[in-house]
Symmetry: C3
Subunit: 345 residues, 3 copies
């Protein structure tokens, strides 16, 4: 059971209600009125908990779970223990997420500005929005409805935020236009001027960075990420894109819709990333590239050339993933063969 210090569970739900909310089917013969009280992982779930099975690494845990119900793909039904009501769905993890949200809805926001916040008189703050302690909101800021502006965060002069935006603790935002339902995690840095200067032996010449950061609806940006503003064009993060922690986005980068960018990725200036691109952890992209929509870039890859739409690449420098695995295999064979043959010398 989630720790009640931190989480409060909502009312129990019948399997029928859960299945409806989660887009799953109850098998014929199961008791649709049976009541579930919580969600839990397979290992710790009990008869009143609903769980899910979505990764064959956890097959044994699934076979041995005491969960009362679990979301499961049709092809995995045969592994379900008899004590469990399988809730059948093509997307078990998605269904589980919807069920968990039913038990643990977002806490409602208490509107109002904390007395310790420093809010410029020209700032406009929408109805239902909560401004936490020690927040700084500068001149001309406009914030929509039902936002949560976390403790000690800073919203710089002129920034606009849509509705239902969540700003984490210690985040700082400047030169940015932010859509609705955006989440910035703690320590995010948005809008500082990028790495823009002309090298010169007599001393670099800094180039004023005159663009903005545009963050579209439903974007999430993980803890301690850094998103530089554009140098003239804007830096743009497309709607629904999910960015993990400690990611670096350089100036003028344009990222499309629905991308998934894992922790510690770095994207250099002016690179354009299409829609629904996935980039694995610690991947690095040099500047001025074009990454086609639907491309998948494996973890730790180094991208120095354009990637075509839909391609899957890996390695540093990255090559098509099949070639990468072949390279790895060949190196392995050469290295182990050499060992064998040199023993015979």
């Amino acid at each position: 059971m989630p720790d009640p210090r931190f989480f409060t569970v909502a009312a129990p739900l019948t399997l029928k209600a859960l299945a409806e909310r989660a887009g799953a089917r109850i098998p014929a013969g199961a008791d649709a009125e049976r009541v579930m009280r919580d969600v839990a992982p397979l290992e710790t779930a009990g008869p009143n908990d609903v769980s899910f099975f979505d990764n064959k690494k956890y097959l044994r845990a699934f076979q041995n779970t005491r969960a009362g119900a679990a979301f499961v793909h049709p092809t995995a039904l045969m592994h379900a223990p008899k004590t469990l009501v399988p809730l059948v769905t093509e997307k078990p993890y998605r269904s589980y997420g919807l069920a968990a949200r039913a038990f643990y809805p977002e806490p409602t926001t208490e509107a109002g500005v904390h007395e310790s916040a420093v809010v410029h008189p020209t700032a406009r703050i929408g109805a239902g929005t909560q401004v936490g302690p020690l927040v700084v909101i500068e001149a001309g800021v406009e914030i929509g409805r039902d936002c949560r502006i976390g403790p000690a965060s800073i919203i710089g002069a002129g920034c606009m935020l849509g509705d239902e935006v969540r700003i984490g603790a210690h985040a700082s935002v400047s030169h940015a236009l932010i859509g609705s339902r955006v989440v910035l995690y703690p320590g995010v840095r948005v809008g500082q001027d990028g790495f823009g200067f002309a090298p010169d032996p007599a001393g670099v010449v800094k180039v004023p960075q005159l663009g903005r950061v545009i963050i579209e609806d439903r974007v999430e940006i993980g803890a301690n990420c850094t998103i530089d503003r554009g140098s003239g064009p804007d830096t743009v993060i497309g709607a629904g894109t999910m960015i993990d922690n400690l990611v670096q986005i350089g100036h003028n980068v344009q990222i499309g819709r629905g991308c998934i960018i894992v922790a510690q990725v770095g994207i250099s200036g002016s690179t354009r990333v299409g829609d629904f691109v996935q980039i694995g952890g610690q991947g690095g992209l040099t500047g001025h590239l074009t990454i086609g929509s639907g491309a998948r870039i494996a973890a730790q890859s180094g991208i120095m050339r354009d990637v075509p739409p839909g391609a899957t690449v890996m390695g540093s420098p990255a090559v098509p993933i099949k070639e990468h695995f072949r390279q790895v295999e060949i190196l392995h064979r050469l290295a182990t063969h050499k060992e064998t043959s040199s023993e015979g010398e």
Copy 2:
């Protein structure tokens, strides 16, 4: 045009004035008194804007630009559209930077200490310096003239800052002596004790870190970087060195003058980096190395040995860049050859 929510353009300038400030030449016959009102990228510039062309990737944009003038290298003059006055310079990007600074000078600082700041009575703050809201300035701090100490930043006990220093939001500084015209971006961590301990199965022994961080004039350190103080010797960042976001600098590292260190680089303890060294994004250097002046280290490289002055290296582990590209080519050939031959088996 830069968004007036965030940027305010200064007075218009003649081509003559712009060329003088930017170190460029106006071709014979051009109207030196023609007035420019703004800077803009090639794609969006209009007849009253000045732009620049410095990367052949943008050749088509240059050929089609509607810009009234642009900084351009003598060798690229033939690509200029007829509607454009070319401002000829060996360093188009540098000239553009100077022009942009003429249109967008640094905003002047309103001096004074915000009422919400917590400033120790023994701290000394120079004339013209601005201390933002919710700043903490501890005992014995000395800050020079015309600095901007950003909102919610922390300057730890005993630190010294020169003149015209800019400290970003949420930056924290301790055990540091900082020169003039230094810029620390938001979320920078300077001066915490480094990763210094003696491993021991019975529990590590922490070793007091008794050095400082010395940051020389005109250094810039990007958002969320971490610079540990020395363990006994100091950690030193040489004059004019530019550091991008999310870079890690270990204790006792000494970096020379005019280096360029791209985002997410990590430099381990006690490594010495010469002058004018360039390190690409996500590069990693182990400890106790010597990197010669003028060396260039490619992105994602892993450096485990000293690098001679002027060398260019790449790969993990890094080798001279020519050898690296040969390695890449050989692996590619082996991998693709194997595919062909195995089809014939």
Copy 3:
């Protein structure tokens, strides 16, 4: 001598006292009552300073040092200059650390809550604990004795901290149970919800993250690290584990006791790391792996499979370190051989 702006040395100590505290032996015939006044690196130490020699890279500095005494391994005694009293120990760096702590003990904490801190009335704060300026402590927090809660840090609702915990400037903590003698460095982010969502072309479904972060005794977490809370299970950092700066720990990761994790490492969700594991800088581990106790993972390695206990691996993808070096050698030979032979073509 450490800069008195930042460090205050305690009373002088005799060699006898130093040797006792540091677990070292004084050679027969040396003056055990001789007084040392400070610690210093070999290069700058004088006759009243104690130093150490533990890395053969610094052999010349050791041979030429003016230090009055130094901790040294029995096998290195022959290199000691005659002016120096060798303090003999199997662990010179550990002994040095203990000596340095004798000269520079942790400053004592002035207890009390700064008037600018925002502390919820339901929070409980132990005796001897210092709460710095502009700290936020939310509802239901429990903090033990003799802690230092650094300036502008945030302790979220319901969190528990043990005794003698040090929280750095601008750190933010939520959904966490923290043991005793833990150190969080500036800018650490603990407890935000992890990268947990079900991708979906119609818009990702966020999955509530219902676990916590458990940080056991004596853990240290470096500046600007990010530690996500569990999704249902907890994220756990085992006792005595040392984590350098800018490290990413995903949700549900379990790390054992006494591990050493160098800067910029990333560990993806649900991976389990055993006890006394070492991970070099910028190493990356994908999710759902098991890393056996005592394993060593070299810098920049990419781990995509389980690592057995005690193994040493390197490379991306990682292989046993001997094979890695063989791979590197083979590639080097192929690349340089090719050059030679193609010259003959």
